[in-house]
Symmetry: C2
Subunit: 134 residues, 2 copies
DNA sequence: TCCTAAATCTGATTAATATCATATTTTAGG
DNA sequence: CCTAAAATATGATATTAATCAGATTTAGGA
């Protein structure tokens, strides 16, 4: 998340970002960040180009991706969608004891991740509605 | 959570529960469950007595504990309360880019964990509002 | 064309968490 | 007071996730 938001905040037409120039600014170990960015790139969440002048960046299309995409790629679809008590699939028609407390909040949360794009978050930052000291 | 809810559902005045009679019913490895129940007991979330006829159970007081107590004991207070971007402490006056999306949902969630007791959940189950096939 | 700078790929290492094993303490009941 | 049944304590192992290291591929520029 931090890495993607960093790219979103600092990508522009003539600048791409190398792992070694990002990692310390977002406080994530270099090798770990590399592996994560490569995965995000392979799964088309972010963009990259190799060779000199290369690096990671966000394309127009990337900006419009919903945040849920990042979560799904990194943590897998199960992570947010399974029953909190792991006694079954999360099912609001047949809610477990924690569902109304957690599951509903969770579904609401997922919905928001689906509706909010990277661009939305960055807009908020640029309008001063939120901060992102990266 | 499952273990505590199991105890809540099945504790009565003349019955305590041993690890070996619980673990398979909630699908948690025996030794792992033992360590967790011991920790919960030491931290006064659940009750126990040793020796023959002993086992784990919930006291009246235990029933009235808010769910947040379980989370705090098992996962630590930080787990739910730190900024999602881990760039600072979570602070709604100076929200990070994800705070409104996640942090607010999260605070709401914490509040509910603080307000809901084990007894509340069990009441729901007994009234048929939710299920708990344990 | 060749050199170099970048991501990519692959596997190894380390750290954290979950799980196991066993010895110790406590307590009910004979 | 003995014995057996239970939790408790402690340390070891196994599994998973995070981090590291190095060889390989790609692309820009001289
Ligand atoms: S049914 Fe358990 S969280 Fe939804
Ligand atoms: S400030 Fe980041 S989640 Fe609240």
């Amino acid at each position: 998340m931090k890495a993607v938001l960093f790219l979103a905040l600092h990508t522009n037409d003539n600048q791409k970002w190398m792992v070694k120039d990002i990692y310390s600014r977002i406080n994530v170990p270099q090798s770990y960040l590399a592996k994560i960015l490569q995965e995000l790139s392979k799964r088309d969440v972010i963009s990259s180009s190799r060779g000199p002048k290369g690096g990671f960046y966000l394309s127009e299309a990337n900006f419009d991706l919903p945040l849920i995409k990042i979560v799904d790629v990194i943590d897998g679809k199960q992570r947010l969608r399974s029953c909190m008590l792991s006694i079954k699939e999360c099912d609001s028609d047949n809610p477990c004891a924690l569902h109304d407390l957690v599951g509903n909040t969770n579904s609401e949360f997922i919905k928001r991740l689906e509706q909010t794009t990277i661009l939305d978050l960055i807009s908020d930052v640029k309008e001063g509605k939120s901060v992102l000291p990266l």
